[in-house]
Protein backbone atom coordinates (compact mmCIF):
# COMPACT_ATOMS: atom_id res chain seq x y z
CA UNK A 1 0.00 0.00 0.00
CA UNK A 2 1.36 3.46 -0.91
CA UNK A 3 2.41 5.64 2.00
CA UNK A 4 0.20 8.64 2.68
CA UNK A 5 1.13 12.01 1.20
CA UNK A 6 0.70 13.69 4.59
CA UNK A 7 0.71 12.24 8.05
CA UNK A 8 0.44 14.23 11.26
CA UNK A 9 0.42 12.68 14.68
CA UNK A 10 -0.28 14.67 17.83
CA UNK A 11 1.32 17.77 16.35
CA UNK A 12 1.38 20.87 18.53
CA UNK A 13 2.72 24.33 17.81
CA UNK A 14 2.51 27.22 20.28
CA UNK A 15 3.28 30.90 19.92
CA UNK A 16 3.84 32.07 23.48
CA UNK A 17 0.61 31.48 25.37
CA UNK A 18 -1.37 30.78 22.21
CA UNK A 19 -1.65 27.21 20.94
CA UNK A 20 -2.03 27.60 17.18
CA UNK A 21 -2.14 23.87 16.47
CA UNK A 22 -3.17 21.52 19.24
CA UNK A 23 -2.40 17.78 19.07
CA UNK A 24 -3.43 17.60 15.42
CA UNK A 25 -3.54 14.11 13.93
CA UNK A 26 -4.62 13.42 10.38
CA UNK A 27 -3.64 11.56 7.24
CA UNK A 28 -4.03 12.64 3.62
CA UNK A 29 -3.70 9.98 0.97
CA UNK A 30 -1.71 10.51 -2.21
CA UNK A 31 -3.82 11.88 -5.05
CA UNK A 32 -6.52 13.12 -2.72
CA UNK A 33 -8.07 16.60 -2.77
CA UNK A 34 -8.22 17.36 0.92
CA UNK A 35 -10.17 20.34 2.20
CA UNK A 36 -8.87 22.07 5.30
CA UNK A 37 -11.59 24.26 6.71
CA UNK A 38 -11.79 26.64 9.61
CA UNK A 39 -12.37 30.24 10.46
CA UNK A 40 -9.54 32.79 10.66
CA UNK A 41 -7.05 31.84 13.36
CA UNK A 42 -8.14 28.19 13.40
CA UNK A 43 -4.58 27.05 12.64
CA UNK A 44 -4.80 26.39 8.89
CA UNK A 45 -1.87 28.57 7.77
CA UNK A 46 0.29 27.39 10.66
CA UNK A 47 -0.41 23.79 9.61
CA UNK A 48 0.73 24.52 6.02
CA UNK A 49 3.90 26.09 7.40
CA UNK A 50 4.55 23.08 9.62
CA UNK A 51 3.97 20.68 6.72
CA UNK A 52 6.55 22.54 4.61
CA UNK A 53 9.17 22.74 7.35
CA UNK A 54 8.98 26.53 7.38
CA UNK A 55 7.93 26.36 11.03
CA UNK A 56 9.07 23.72 13.48
CA UNK A 57 6.54 21.81 15.58
CA UNK A 58 6.88 21.88 19.35
CA UNK A 59 5.89 18.23 19.53
CA UNK A 60 4.42 15.45 17.43
CA UNK A 61 5.34 13.65 14.24
CA UNK A 62 4.99 15.08 10.73
CA UNK A 63 5.64 13.23 7.49
CA UNK A 64 5.13 14.71 4.03
CA UNK A 65 5.82 12.40 1.08
CA UNK A 66 7.59 10.21 3.61
CA UNK A 67 9.96 13.00 4.64
CA UNK A 68 10.29 14.82 7.95
CA UNK A 69 9.80 18.53 7.14
CA UNK A 70 11.58 19.54 10.36
CA UNK A 71 14.82 17.88 9.26
CA UNK A 72 14.29 17.72 5.48
CA UNK A 73 12.50 21.00 4.82
CA UNK A 74 14.29 21.83 1.53
CA UNK A 75 13.54 18.36 0.12
CA UNK A 76 9.86 18.67 1.07
CA UNK A 77 9.58 22.18 -0.35
CA UNK A 78 11.25 21.08 -3.61
CA UNK A 79 8.41 18.60 -4.11
CA UNK A 80 5.56 20.83 -2.93
CA UNK A 81 3.96 23.93 -4.38
CA UNK A 82 2.45 26.53 -2.10
CA UNK A 83 -0.06 29.24 -2.87
CA UNK A 84 0.20 31.58 0.09
CA UNK A 85 -2.72 33.62 1.37
CA UNK A 86 -1.28 36.78 -0.21
CA UNK A 87 0.14 36.33 -3.74
CA UNK A 88 3.67 37.24 -2.50
CA UNK A 89 4.84 38.40 -5.94
CA UNK A 90 7.52 40.97 -6.65
CA UNK A 91 5.49 43.80 -8.16
CA UNK A 92 8.59 45.54 -9.50
CA UNK A 93 9.30 42.62 -11.81
CA UNK A 94 7.33 41.41 -14.82
CA UNK A 95 5.22 38.26 -14.63
CA UNK A 96 7.75 36.33 -16.68
CA UNK A 97 10.65 37.50 -14.49
CA UNK A 98 8.72 36.44 -11.38
CA UNK A 99 8.18 32.99 -12.84
CA UNK A 100 11.75 32.56 -14.10
CA UNK A 101 13.00 33.55 -10.64
CA UNK A 102 10.90 30.86 -8.97
CA UNK A 103 11.65 28.28 -11.68
CA UNK A 104 15.36 28.73 -10.92
CA UNK A 105 14.75 28.70 -7.16
CA UNK A 106 12.78 25.45 -7.42
CA UNK A 107 15.39 23.79 -9.59
CA UNK A 108 13.42 23.52 -12.85
CA UNK A 109 16.01 22.20 -15.36
CA UNK A 110 17.49 25.25 -17.15
CA UNK A 111 16.51 23.88 -20.55
CA UNK A 112 12.86 23.66 -19.49
CA UNK A 113 12.44 27.05 -17.78
CA UNK A 114 11.26 28.86 -20.91
CA UNK A 115 8.83 26.15 -21.96
CA UNK A 116 7.39 25.71 -18.43
CA UNK A 117 6.89 29.42 -17.80
CA UNK A 118 5.23 29.82 -21.20
CA UNK A 119 2.98 26.84 -20.49
CA UNK A 120 1.74 28.09 -17.11
CA UNK A 121 1.26 31.62 -18.43
CA UNK A 122 -0.87 30.16 -21.22
CA UNK A 123 -2.74 27.92 -18.81
CA UNK A 124 -3.64 30.85 -16.55
CA UNK A 125 -4.39 33.19 -19.46
CA UNK A 126 -1.60 35.63 -18.68
CA UNK A 127 0.55 35.07 -21.77
CA UNK A 128 -0.45 38.31 -23.47
CA UNK A 129 0.57 40.40 -20.44
CA UNK A 130 3.59 38.36 -19.36
CA UNK A 131 6.01 41.19 -20.11
CA UNK A 132 4.21 43.72 -17.88
CA UNK A 133 5.22 44.59 -14.33
CA UNK A 134 3.05 42.78 -11.81
CA UNK A 135 2.35 46.06 -9.97
CA UNK A 136 -0.08 46.94 -12.77
CA UNK A 137 -2.03 43.67 -12.53
CA UNK A 138 -5.55 43.36 -11.09
CA UNK A 139 -6.09 41.32 -7.92
CA UNK A 140 -7.41 38.39 -9.95
CA UNK A 141 -4.42 38.44 -12.30
CA UNK A 142 -2.02 38.45 -9.37
CA UNK A 143 -3.85 35.47 -7.88
CA UNK A 144 -3.63 33.63 -11.22
CA UNK A 145 0.08 34.38 -11.45
CA UNK A 146 0.66 33.14 -7.90
CA UNK A 147 -1.17 29.95 -8.83
CA UNK A 148 0.95 29.63 -11.96
CA UNK A 149 4.03 29.92 -9.77
CA UNK A 150 2.78 27.14 -7.46
CA UNK A 151 2.29 24.80 -10.47
CA UNK A 152 5.54 25.80 -12.18
CA UNK A 153 7.83 23.04 -10.92
CA UNK A 154 5.13 20.38 -11.25
CA UNK A 155 4.98 19.54 -7.54
CA UNK A 156 3.69 16.24 -6.23
CA UNK A 157 1.70 17.98 -3.56
CA UNK A 158 0.01 21.38 -3.68
CA UNK A 159 -0.91 23.52 -0.70
CA UNK A 160 -3.47 26.06 -1.83
CA UNK A 161 -4.55 28.73 0.63
CA UNK A 162 -7.79 30.27 -0.68
CA UNK A 163 -6.95 29.63 -4.36
CA UNK A 164 -10.06 31.28 -5.80
CA UNK A 165 -10.00 34.41 -3.62
CA UNK A 166 -10.17 37.43 -5.90
CA UNK A 167 -10.98 35.44 -9.03
CA UNK A 168 -14.08 36.05 -11.14
CA UNK A 169 -16.54 33.12 -11.38
CA UNK A 170 -15.19 31.92 -14.72
CA UNK A 171 -11.57 31.94 -13.52
CA UNK A 172 -12.62 30.33 -10.21
CA UNK A 173 -14.36 27.55 -12.11
CA UNK A 174 -11.24 27.05 -14.25
CA UNK A 175 -9.10 26.75 -11.11
CA UNK A 176 -11.55 24.22 -9.71
CA UNK A 177 -11.39 22.25 -12.94
CA UNK A 178 -7.60 22.35 -12.81
CA UNK A 179 -7.52 21.13 -9.20
CA UNK A 180 -9.67 18.14 -10.13
CA UNK A 181 -7.49 17.47 -13.17
CA UNK A 182 -4.32 17.59 -11.08
CA UNK A 183 -5.74 15.12 -8.61
CA UNK A 184 -7.71 12.72 -10.82
CA UNK A 185 -5.65 12.72 -14.01
CA UNK A 186 -2.16 13.46 -12.72
CA UNK A 187 -2.39 11.86 -9.29
CA UNK A 188 -1.17 14.94 -7.41
CA UNK A 189 -2.25 15.58 -3.85
CA UNK A 190 -4.03 18.86 -3.17
CA UNK A 191 -4.29 20.32 0.33
CA UNK A 192 -6.92 23.01 -0.03
CA UNK A 193 -7.51 25.65 2.63
CA UNK A 194 -10.71 27.49 1.93
CA UNK A 195 -13.57 29.42 3.42
CA UNK A 196 -15.61 28.67 0.34
CA UNK A 197 -17.69 25.72 1.48
CA UNK A 198 -19.45 25.27 -1.85
CA UNK A 199 -16.04 25.01 -3.51
CA UNK A 200 -14.82 22.55 -0.87
CA UNK A 201 -17.92 20.40 -1.29
CA UNK A 202 -17.51 20.40 -5.07
CA UNK A 203 -13.78 19.65 -5.12
CA UNK A 204 -12.73 17.76 -2.02
CA UNK A 205 -12.69 14.01 -1.50
CA UNK A 206 -12.46 14.58 2.24
CA UNK A 207 -12.42 17.59 4.51
CA UNK A 208 -11.09 18.42 7.95
CA UNK A 209 -12.62 21.14 10.07
CA UNK A 210 -10.35 23.02 12.47
CA UNK A 211 -11.59 24.84 15.55
CA UNK A 212 -9.09 26.87 17.61
CA UNK A 213 -6.14 24.75 16.49
CA UNK A 214 -7.93 21.49 17.19
CA UNK A 215 -9.30 19.05 14.68
CA UNK A 216 -13.08 19.19 15.09
CA UNK A 217 -13.89 16.57 12.44
CA UNK A 218 -12.46 14.81 9.41
CA UNK A 219 -14.03 12.68 6.68
CA UNK A 220 -16.15 12.87 3.56
CA UNK A 221 -18.94 15.44 3.80
CA UNK A 222 -21.47 12.57 3.88
CA UNK A 223 -19.65 10.71 6.64
CA UNK A 224 -19.27 13.91 8.59
CA UNK A 225 -22.98 14.58 8.40
CA UNK A 226 -23.61 11.18 9.93
CA UNK A 227 -20.79 11.46 12.44
CA UNK A 228 -21.80 14.81 13.87
CA UNK A 229 -25.50 14.01 13.73
CA UNK A 230 -26.25 17.08 11.69
CA UNK A 231 -29.97 17.81 11.53
CA UNK A 232 -31.69 16.18 8.56
CA UNK A 233 -34.06 18.16 6.38
CA UNK A 234 -36.82 16.55 4.32
CA UNK A 235 -39.49 17.74 1.94
CA UNK A 236 -42.90 16.18 2.53
CA UNK A 237 -45.40 16.04 -0.31
CA UNK A 238 -49.00 15.33 0.75
CA UNK A 239 -52.41 15.98 -0.75
CA UNK A 240 -53.06 19.72 -0.77
CA UNK A 241 -56.23 19.45 1.37
CA UNK A 242 -54.42 17.34 3.97
CA UNK A 243 -51.37 19.58 4.48
CA UNK A 244 -52.54 21.16 7.74
CA UNK A 245 -53.61 17.79 9.13
CA UNK A 246 -50.22 16.34 8.27
CA UNK A 247 -48.49 19.29 9.88
CA UNK A 248 -50.53 18.75 13.04
CA UNK A 249 -49.77 14.99 13.16
CA UNK A 250 -46.01 15.18 12.74
CA UNK A 251 -45.51 18.24 14.94
CA UNK A 252 -46.35 16.00 17.90
CA UNK A 253 -43.41 13.67 17.25
CA UNK A 254 -40.36 14.40 19.47
CA UNK A 255 -37.91 13.62 16.60
CA UNK A 256 -39.44 16.38 14.48
CA UNK A 257 -37.68 19.58 15.43
CA UNK A 258 -39.26 21.98 13.02
CA UNK A 259 -41.98 22.07 10.35
CA UNK A 260 -42.57 24.84 7.86
CA UNK A 261 -44.65 25.32 4.75
CA UNK A 262 -42.59 25.80 1.62
CA UNK A 263 -44.55 26.42 -1.58
CA UNK A 264 -47.00 23.52 -1.83
CA UNK A 265 -44.96 21.20 0.39
CA UNK A 266 -43.85 20.93 3.99
CA UNK A 267 -40.21 21.12 5.00
CA UNK A 268 -39.30 19.08 8.06
CA UNK A 269 -36.20 19.20 10.21
CA UNK A 270 -35.63 15.86 11.89
CA UNK A 271 -33.19 15.04 14.66
CA UNK A 272 -31.72 12.12 12.63
CA UNK A 273 -32.38 9.75 9.72
CA UNK A 274 -34.13 7.22 11.97
CA UNK A 275 -36.97 9.69 12.49
CA UNK A 276 -38.02 9.51 8.82
CA UNK A 277 -39.77 6.05 9.00
CA UNK A 278 -41.46 7.19 12.19
CA UNK A 279 -42.87 10.24 10.41
CA UNK A 280 -44.11 8.13 7.53
CA UNK A 281 -45.72 5.58 9.86
CA UNK A 282 -47.53 8.34 11.74
CA UNK A 283 -48.87 9.92 8.56
CA UNK A 284 -50.01 6.61 7.13
CA UNK A 285 -51.64 5.64 10.43
CA UNK A 286 -53.64 8.86 10.21
CA UNK A 287 -54.81 7.84 6.71
CA UNK A 288 -53.08 10.81 5.06
CA UNK A 289 -52.02 10.51 1.42
CA UNK A 290 -48.23 10.83 1.26
CA UNK A 291 -46.76 11.29 -2.23
CA UNK A 292 -43.10 11.71 -1.26
CA UNK A 293 -40.71 12.22 1.64
CA UNK A 294 -37.42 13.43 0.09
CA UNK A 295 -34.20 14.00 2.08
CA UNK A 296 -32.18 17.16 1.40
CA UNK A 297 -28.45 16.64 0.83
CA UNK A 298 -26.63 17.94 3.92
CA UNK A 299 -24.33 20.66 2.71
CA UNK A 300 -20.81 21.17 3.95
CA UNK A 301 -22.02 24.50 5.19
CA UNK A 302 -24.58 22.73 7.43
CA UNK A 303 -21.82 20.50 8.79
CA UNK A 304 -19.43 23.37 9.26
CA UNK A 305 -21.99 25.44 11.10
CA UNK A 306 -23.03 22.49 13.24
CA UNK A 307 -19.41 21.86 14.21
CA UNK A 308 -18.91 25.53 14.91
CA UNK A 309 -21.96 25.56 17.19
CA UNK A 310 -20.73 22.42 18.95
CA UNK A 311 -17.36 24.07 19.50
CA UNK A 312 -18.97 27.14 20.97
CA UNK A 313 -21.17 25.03 23.24
CA UNK A 314 -18.10 23.13 24.49
CA UNK A 315 -16.35 26.40 25.27
CA UNK A 316 -19.33 27.70 27.22
CA UNK A 317 -19.55 24.57 29.33
CA UNK A 318 -18.27 25.10 32.91
Amino acid sequence: MASPAIHLQEVTRRFGAITAVDKLSLTVEAGEVFGFLGHNGAGKTTTIRLLNGVLAADSGVIRVLGLDPGAQGPQVRARSGVLTETPSLDERLTAIDNLIYYADLYGVPPGQVGQRTAAVLERFELADRAGEKVGGYSKGMKQRLALARAFLHEPEILFLDEPTAGLDPVAAQEVGRMIRHLSRDEGRTVFLCTHNLVEAQRLCDRVAVMEHGRLAAVGTPRALAREIGAEMRYTLEVAADQREAARHEIALLPAVKHVETADADLTLTLSDREAAPEVLARLLAANLRVYALTPHETSLEDIYMALHRQGQEREQMP
Partner: protein, 277 residues
Protein backbone atom coordinates in the same frame (compact mmCIF):
# COMPACT_ATOMS: atom_id res chain seq x y z
CA UNK B 1 24.82 23.83 -0.89
CA UNK B 2 22.06 24.75 -3.36
CA UNK B 3 24.26 27.11 -5.40
CA UNK B 4 21.74 27.57 -8.17
CA UNK B 5 19.06 28.82 -5.75
CA UNK B 6 21.63 31.07 -4.06
CA UNK B 7 22.76 32.50 -7.40
CA UNK B 8 19.13 33.09 -8.32
CA UNK B 9 18.44 35.05 -5.12
CA UNK B 10 21.64 37.11 -5.58
CA UNK B 11 20.87 37.86 -9.24
CA UNK B 12 17.31 38.87 -8.46
CA UNK B 13 18.33 41.14 -5.56
CA UNK B 14 20.86 42.90 -7.80
CA UNK B 15 18.35 43.13 -10.64
CA UNK B 16 15.78 44.70 -8.34
CA UNK B 17 18.40 47.26 -7.22
CA UNK B 18 19.15 48.08 -10.86
CA UNK B 19 15.45 48.50 -11.59
CA UNK B 20 14.57 50.54 -8.49
CA UNK B 21 15.42 54.18 -9.09
CA UNK B 22 14.96 55.16 -5.43
CA UNK B 23 17.81 52.79 -4.51
CA UNK B 24 19.89 53.05 -7.66
CA UNK B 25 20.10 56.85 -7.93
CA UNK B 26 21.73 57.46 -4.51
CA UNK B 27 24.03 54.51 -5.21
CA UNK B 28 25.27 56.31 -8.33
CA UNK B 29 25.08 59.94 -7.24
CA UNK B 30 26.96 59.62 -3.94
CA UNK B 31 30.01 57.82 -5.38
CA UNK B 32 30.09 60.15 -8.39
CA UNK B 33 29.91 63.17 -6.09
CA UNK B 34 32.56 61.96 -3.65
CA UNK B 35 34.96 60.12 -5.93
CA UNK B 36 34.61 61.95 -9.24
CA UNK B 37 33.26 65.48 -8.83
CA UNK B 38 34.96 66.44 -5.56
CA UNK B 39 38.45 65.20 -6.57
CA UNK B 40 37.93 66.51 -10.12
CA UNK B 41 37.12 70.01 -8.93
CA UNK B 42 39.87 69.83 -6.30
CA UNK B 43 42.43 68.65 -8.87
CA UNK B 44 41.37 71.24 -11.42
CA UNK B 45 41.60 74.08 -8.87
CA UNK B 46 45.02 72.93 -7.67
CA UNK B 47 46.23 72.61 -11.27
CA UNK B 48 45.61 76.32 -11.76
CA UNK B 49 46.92 77.38 -8.33
CA UNK B 50 50.08 79.49 -8.12
CA UNK B 51 52.46 78.03 -5.50
CA UNK B 52 53.61 81.54 -4.59
CA UNK B 53 50.13 82.98 -4.26
CA UNK B 54 48.85 84.49 -1.04
CA UNK B 55 46.14 81.84 -0.69
CA UNK B 56 48.58 78.93 -0.81
CA UNK B 57 51.02 80.64 1.54
CA UNK B 58 48.21 81.41 4.01
CA UNK B 59 46.90 77.84 3.84
CA UNK B 60 50.37 76.42 4.44
CA UNK B 61 50.96 78.79 7.35
CA UNK B 62 47.63 77.96 8.99
CA UNK B 63 48.21 74.22 8.52
CA UNK B 64 51.78 74.34 9.83
CA UNK B 65 50.97 72.26 12.90
CA UNK B 66 49.41 69.56 10.73
CA UNK B 67 52.29 69.44 8.24
CA UNK B 68 54.94 69.53 10.97
CA UNK B 69 53.53 66.49 12.74
CA UNK B 70 53.13 64.15 9.79
CA UNK B 71 54.69 60.69 10.14
CA UNK B 72 58.23 60.38 8.79
CA UNK B 73 57.39 58.37 5.60
CA UNK B 74 54.86 61.00 4.53
CA UNK B 75 57.19 63.89 5.38
CA UNK B 76 59.96 62.23 3.37
CA UNK B 77 57.61 61.79 0.43
CA UNK B 78 56.48 65.43 0.64
CA UNK B 79 60.12 66.56 0.70
CA UNK B 80 60.51 65.12 -2.81
CA UNK B 81 58.08 67.69 -4.21
CA UNK B 82 59.20 71.11 -5.40
CA UNK B 83 56.36 73.34 -4.28
CA UNK B 84 53.52 73.70 -1.80
CA UNK B 85 50.75 73.02 -4.35
CA UNK B 86 52.21 69.59 -5.04
CA UNK B 87 52.47 68.85 -1.31
CA UNK B 88 48.91 69.99 -0.63
CA UNK B 89 47.70 67.95 -3.58
CA UNK B 90 49.47 64.84 -2.29
CA UNK B 91 48.04 65.27 1.22
CA UNK B 92 44.54 66.04 -0.01
CA UNK B 93 44.20 62.94 -2.15
CA UNK B 94 46.22 60.49 -0.06
CA UNK B 95 45.00 61.35 3.41
CA UNK B 96 41.47 62.65 3.11
CA UNK B 97 40.04 60.46 0.38
CA UNK B 98 40.92 56.90 1.54
CA UNK B 99 38.25 56.91 4.29
CA UNK B 100 35.78 58.11 1.66
CA UNK B 101 36.66 55.13 -0.51
CA UNK B 102 35.95 52.91 2.52
CA UNK B 103 32.75 54.70 3.41
CA UNK B 104 31.13 54.04 0.05
CA UNK B 105 31.19 50.22 -0.08
CA UNK B 106 29.98 50.15 3.51
CA UNK B 107 27.14 52.49 2.63
CA UNK B 108 26.22 50.66 -0.58
CA UNK B 109 26.24 47.24 1.09
CA UNK B 110 24.22 48.79 3.90
CA UNK B 111 21.51 50.22 1.66
CA UNK B 112 21.07 47.04 -0.38
CA UNK B 113 21.23 44.77 2.65
CA UNK B 114 18.63 46.90 4.46
CA UNK B 115 16.30 45.89 1.66
CA UNK B 116 17.09 42.17 2.04
CA UNK B 117 14.62 40.73 4.54
CA UNK B 118 12.93 43.92 5.77
CA UNK B 119 12.30 45.07 2.18
CA UNK B 120 10.89 41.67 1.21
CA UNK B 121 8.67 41.82 4.30
CA UNK B 122 7.50 45.31 3.42
CA UNK B 123 6.69 44.33 -0.17
CA UNK B 124 4.98 41.11 1.06
CA UNK B 125 7.28 38.91 -1.03
CA UNK B 126 9.00 37.24 1.89
CA UNK B 127 6.56 34.40 2.54
CA UNK B 128 6.94 32.85 -0.92
CA UNK B 129 10.72 33.15 -0.63
CA UNK B 130 10.69 31.34 2.72
CA UNK B 131 8.89 28.43 1.03
CA UNK B 132 11.79 28.06 -1.42
CA UNK B 133 13.70 24.77 -1.22
CA UNK B 134 16.80 26.25 0.42
CA UNK B 135 18.19 25.72 3.90
CA UNK B 136 18.14 28.63 6.35
CA UNK B 137 21.89 29.06 5.91
CA UNK B 138 21.72 29.13 2.10
CA UNK B 139 18.99 31.73 2.21
CA UNK B 140 20.90 33.89 4.70
CA UNK B 141 24.17 33.69 2.79
CA UNK B 142 22.48 34.41 -0.54
CA UNK B 143 21.00 37.54 0.98
CA UNK B 144 24.51 38.57 2.09
CA UNK B 145 26.45 37.94 -1.09
CA UNK B 146 24.51 40.27 -3.42
CA UNK B 147 24.99 43.42 -1.33
CA UNK B 148 28.61 42.45 -0.65
CA UNK B 149 29.39 42.12 -4.34
CA UNK B 150 27.67 45.44 -5.02
CA UNK B 151 29.62 47.14 -2.22
CA UNK B 152 32.94 45.78 -3.43
CA UNK B 153 32.13 46.67 -7.05
CA UNK B 154 31.27 50.25 -6.08
CA UNK B 155 34.44 50.46 -3.96
CA UNK B 156 36.67 49.21 -6.78
CA UNK B 157 35.00 51.08 -9.62
CA UNK B 158 34.84 54.19 -7.44
CA UNK B 159 38.56 53.99 -6.74
CA UNK B 160 39.30 53.43 -10.43
CA UNK B 161 37.26 56.51 -11.37
CA UNK B 162 38.90 58.49 -8.55
CA UNK B 163 42.42 57.49 -9.65
CA UNK B 164 41.68 58.39 -13.29
CA UNK B 165 40.13 61.76 -12.42
CA UNK B 166 42.92 62.67 -10.01
CA UNK B 167 45.60 61.62 -12.47
CA UNK B 168 44.01 63.48 -15.37
CA UNK B 169 43.59 66.71 -13.43
CA UNK B 170 46.94 66.68 -11.62
CA UNK B 171 49.36 64.93 -13.97
CA UNK B 172 50.43 68.26 -15.49
CA UNK B 173 51.98 69.51 -12.25
CA UNK B 174 52.45 66.29 -10.20
CA UNK B 175 54.30 64.50 -12.99
CA UNK B 176 53.21 60.99 -11.94
CA UNK B 177 50.33 58.83 -10.67
CA UNK B 178 50.51 59.42 -6.92
CA UNK B 179 47.29 57.72 -5.75
CA UNK B 180 48.53 54.20 -6.40
CA UNK B 181 50.87 52.66 -3.84
CA UNK B 182 50.99 49.79 -1.35
CA UNK B 183 48.61 51.56 1.04
CA UNK B 184 46.05 52.17 -1.69
CA UNK B 185 46.31 48.58 -2.97
CA UNK B 186 45.81 47.23 0.54
CA UNK B 187 42.88 49.56 1.06
CA UNK B 188 41.22 48.53 -2.16
CA UNK B 189 41.81 44.79 -2.15
CA UNK B 190 41.93 44.10 1.59
CA UNK B 191 40.00 46.78 3.47
CA UNK B 192 37.21 47.58 0.96
CA UNK B 193 35.85 43.99 0.87
CA UNK B 194 36.03 43.89 4.66
CA UNK B 195 34.23 47.22 5.01
CA UNK B 196 31.56 46.03 2.62
CA UNK B 197 31.24 42.81 4.63
CA UNK B 198 30.94 44.69 7.89
CA UNK B 199 28.22 46.95 6.49
CA UNK B 200 26.07 44.12 5.31
CA UNK B 201 26.86 41.67 8.12
CA UNK B 202 25.31 44.13 10.53
CA UNK B 203 22.52 45.12 8.21
CA UNK B 204 21.23 41.67 7.25
CA UNK B 205 21.18 40.77 10.93
CA UNK B 206 19.11 43.87 11.67
CA UNK B 207 17.01 43.49 8.51
CA UNK B 208 15.89 39.99 9.51
CA UNK B 209 14.64 41.34 12.84
CA UNK B 210 12.71 44.47 11.87
CA UNK B 211 9.69 45.12 9.66
CA UNK B 212 10.63 47.93 7.29
CA UNK B 213 13.50 49.07 5.12
CA UNK B 214 13.62 52.41 6.97
CA UNK B 215 13.87 50.74 10.38
CA UNK B 216 16.66 48.50 9.13
CA UNK B 217 18.53 51.36 7.53
CA UNK B 218 18.36 53.53 10.65
CA UNK B 219 19.60 50.79 12.96
CA UNK B 220 22.11 49.07 10.66
CA UNK B 221 23.42 52.39 9.35
CA UNK B 222 25.25 52.92 12.62
CA UNK B 223 27.89 50.49 11.39
CA UNK B 224 29.47 53.29 9.30
CA UNK B 225 30.48 55.05 12.55
CA UNK B 226 33.91 53.35 12.83
CA UNK B 227 34.68 54.42 9.25
CA UNK B 228 33.65 57.98 10.06
CA UNK B 229 35.96 57.88 13.08
CA UNK B 230 38.82 56.95 10.74
CA UNK B 231 37.90 59.88 8.50
CA UNK B 232 37.88 62.34 11.38
CA UNK B 233 41.07 60.77 12.72
CA UNK B 234 42.81 61.52 9.43
CA UNK B 235 41.37 65.03 9.25
CA UNK B 236 42.50 65.74 12.81
CA UNK B 237 45.96 64.33 12.22
CA UNK B 238 45.45 61.52 14.75
CA UNK B 239 45.49 58.54 12.34
CA UNK B 240 47.36 58.15 9.05
CA UNK B 241 46.84 55.31 6.64
CA UNK B 242 50.03 53.38 6.13
CA UNK B 243 50.39 49.83 4.78
CA UNK B 244 50.58 48.57 8.37
CA UNK B 245 47.51 50.49 9.48
CA UNK B 246 45.60 49.39 6.36
CA UNK B 247 46.49 45.78 7.19
CA UNK B 248 45.39 46.22 10.80
CA UNK B 249 42.16 48.06 9.95
CA UNK B 250 41.36 45.40 7.34
CA UNK B 251 42.01 42.62 9.85
CA UNK B 252 39.75 44.24 12.46
CA UNK B 253 36.97 44.88 9.92
CA UNK B 254 37.23 41.32 8.56
CA UNK B 255 37.06 39.89 12.08
CA UNK B 256 34.01 42.01 12.92
CA UNK B 257 32.34 41.23 9.59
CA UNK B 258 32.96 37.49 9.81
CA UNK B 259 31.83 37.46 13.44
CA UNK B 260 28.57 39.15 12.48
CA UNK B 261 28.04 36.88 9.47
CA UNK B 262 28.69 33.69 11.43
CA UNK B 263 26.47 34.85 14.29
CA UNK B 264 23.76 35.90 11.84
CA UNK B 265 23.88 32.64 9.90
CA UNK B 266 23.77 30.57 13.09
CA UNK B 267 20.91 32.47 14.65
CA UNK B 268 18.85 32.87 11.48
CA UNK B 269 15.63 30.82 11.54
CA UNK B 270 13.06 31.18 8.78
CA UNK B 271 10.46 30.03 11.29
CA UNK B 272 11.12 33.05 13.50
CA UNK B 273 10.80 35.29 10.46
CA UNK B 274 7.57 33.78 9.15
CA UNK B 275 6.00 33.77 12.58
CA UNK B 276 6.25 37.57 12.59
CA UNK B 277 4.53 38.00 9.20
Amino acid sequence: MNWRAMRTIIRKDLKVVRQTRAVLIPLIIVPVLILVLMPGIGGALLATADPDSEVIRDFRRESAAFFDHLPAPISERLAQYDDEVQRITYILFNLFFPPMVLLLPTMVANVIAADSFAGEKERKTLEALLYAPTTDRELYLAKLIGPWLAGVAVGWLGYLAFAIVVTLTTLSFMGSVFVLDATWLLLIFWVVPAASGLGLGAMVLVSSRVNTFQEAYQLGGMIVLPILLLLFGQLGGVVYFSPLLALAVGAVLWALALGLVVYGARSFRRGALIARL
